[in-house]
Amino acid sequence: MFQLELVVVGIVWGCTYAMMALGLTLVYGLLRILHIAHATIFTLGAYIGIVVANNTGSLWLAFPAAMLAAGIVGPLIYRLVYEPILQQPPYVALIASIGILIAMEDGFRIIFGPYGLSFLNNPWFTTIYDFGGITLNLVQIWMVAAAVILISAFALFSSVSRSGVAWRATVSDPPIASSFGIDVIRVRYTSFFIASCLAAVAGVLVGLLNNLVEPGMGNIVSYKGLAIIVLGGLGNVIGTLIASLALGVIESFGTVYLDQVLDRDAIAFLFMIIVLIVRPQGLFAPK
């Protein structure tokens, strides 16, 4: 029973990781950029969400507001920072991205204060359901539901819709795609938009789950997100989703059984380093 509970809690976290890592892998698949500043979007979403929720009293309004803000800032980061340095060696964009992350963490601290904000009214957190001995609150249930709905929507978008096909064509071969009349630049903006919206939803949900939104909340999720996309084979969407869930479950077991040796956040990287030594291309082949 205890083991089953660990699996369930692990899957809940895995869904959060999946929403973050999917965005990272989209950006990587398209531009070969390790978009570590994705954490900034996550935190931004959480702050916008909590400010809107606390001022309007509606949790439901928090999500579109967070997605809107993130959907603007994400593509803006691409336009202002990444686009001009695409021709540089990969570390240039990576370090610029770390710069954004560090600066914005301090920025959030300056704007919203160092101690973080709490939701004034968080009914989802206190609504608890019992599934035959395993208790989950409504936030955790929404976490899983949001991941399933949004990721399925994305899968549908990329397999059926015209822009989805254009997106896949651009990922596999940008010059050929653009010679077929696909607007590669628009595809990039779309990717950053989708990735940022997902991160914002994840941010609001993690804020609700901890009932706390703080300046550094995105960091660990983002570092782990990088570990996950490496595990999943960089740019490989299915691999990323599997790796996210696997990591969520491994972590939840690790915090119980490895607690004397390692802290929670190191487990992801231990797992990653072991996998990389055995399979340098990640668990699944990169695109």
């Binding site: 340095i85 570390y91 770390i98 490496v230 960089l234 190191a266």
Partner: protein, 281 residues
């Protein structure tokens, strides 16, 4: 005031060792490392443990160097299999692994770290002079490597590993050498740091510290020894010169990293060399 200047010089010397060491790995050899602070920490913890156990000063520093270089060699082996972006993330992982391990080990003081490290057998001025002297030695070593055949081989590995291999360069050997020497320098800085503060905690060696060291290298101009030296000195002095920055230190670091990468990816050394070529024309 004098004490303050002496401690500032000591810190600057340690940062120079860290930056020049990282430049060997990431600049000369092109292997981006996001976990250099782990080796700084390894050196500090190893030397601190040895010092608390009552070892001699020089011996403890050597232990710090050896432990950092040994783990550095191991990470070098990872770099033989894992490349580019994968490697950057793997080195970041090494940093988190180090922190996550140290935080849970009671014999390493866990979150509280190691305190009551004995003072170095030198007065403050002597210790600062030693640090500056060692930093200069590290600089000379790096300059020498840069000019030697090894430096050129490393550069070839940085530019195109496969091409380097086809012209008969023993790529694994040079990568391992770069990692070992670079992390040894970090281990030395770590040991000196432990003696300087006489108290070490895990958080002194976190991801931000790794990024700060990388920032020194990148702002100075990646691949240039003098660039790393100047970057290290600037980032050490900047928060001191502008006290008001201290509250916004990370905001300024982050913004600097972003702006340098966005507008001058080759850093101060790149700006300097383009100015020089313009004047020569």
């Amino acid at each position: 005031m004098e004490l303050y200047l002496i401690s500032l010089a000591t810190v600057a010397a340690l940062n120079v060792m860290l930056a020049v060491g990282l430049n060997l790995i990431s600049g000369f050899c092109g292997q981006i490392s996001l976990g250099h602070a782990a080796f700084y920490g390894l050196g500090a913890y190893a030397a601190a443990l040895a010092a608390v156990a009552g070892g001699p000063f020089v011996g403890n520093l050597v232990i710090g160097i050896a432990v950092a270089a040994l783990i550095g060699l191991f990470v070098g082996f990872i770099s033989l299999r894992v490349r580019e972006d994968f490697l950057a993330i793997a080195t970041m992982g090494v940093g988190f692994l180090f922190l996550g391990f140290v935080r849970k080990q009671n014999w390493l003081g866990a979150e509280m770290g190691i305190s009551q490290i004995p003072a170095p057998p030198l007065d403050r001025i002597g210790f600062a002079a030693l640090c500056v002297g060692l930093a200069i030695l590290v600089i000379i070593l790096s300059l020498h490597i840069g000019r030697s055949w090894m430096g050129r081989a490393l550069k070839a590995v940085a530019q195109d590993e496969d091409a380097a291999r086809t012209i008969g360069i023993n790529v694994p050997r040079f990568k391992l050498a770069a990692f070992t020497i670079g992390t040894a320098a970090a281990g030395l800085a770590g040991g000196l740091y432990a003696y300087m503060t006489q108290l070490i905690v895990p958080d002194a060696f976190n991801f931000v510290q790794s990024v700060t060291i990388l920032a020194m290298v990148v702002i100075g101009g990646i691949g240039s020894t003098w660039g790393a030296v100047i970057g290290a000195i600037i980032l050490t002095l900047m928060p001191e010169a502008f006290r008001f920055i201290n509250d916004y230190k990370l905001l300024v670091y982050g913004a600097l990293l972003l702006l340098v990468m966005r507008f001058a990816p080759r850093g101060l050394a790149g700006i300097a060399s383009s100015v020089v070529t313009r004047f020569r024309k």
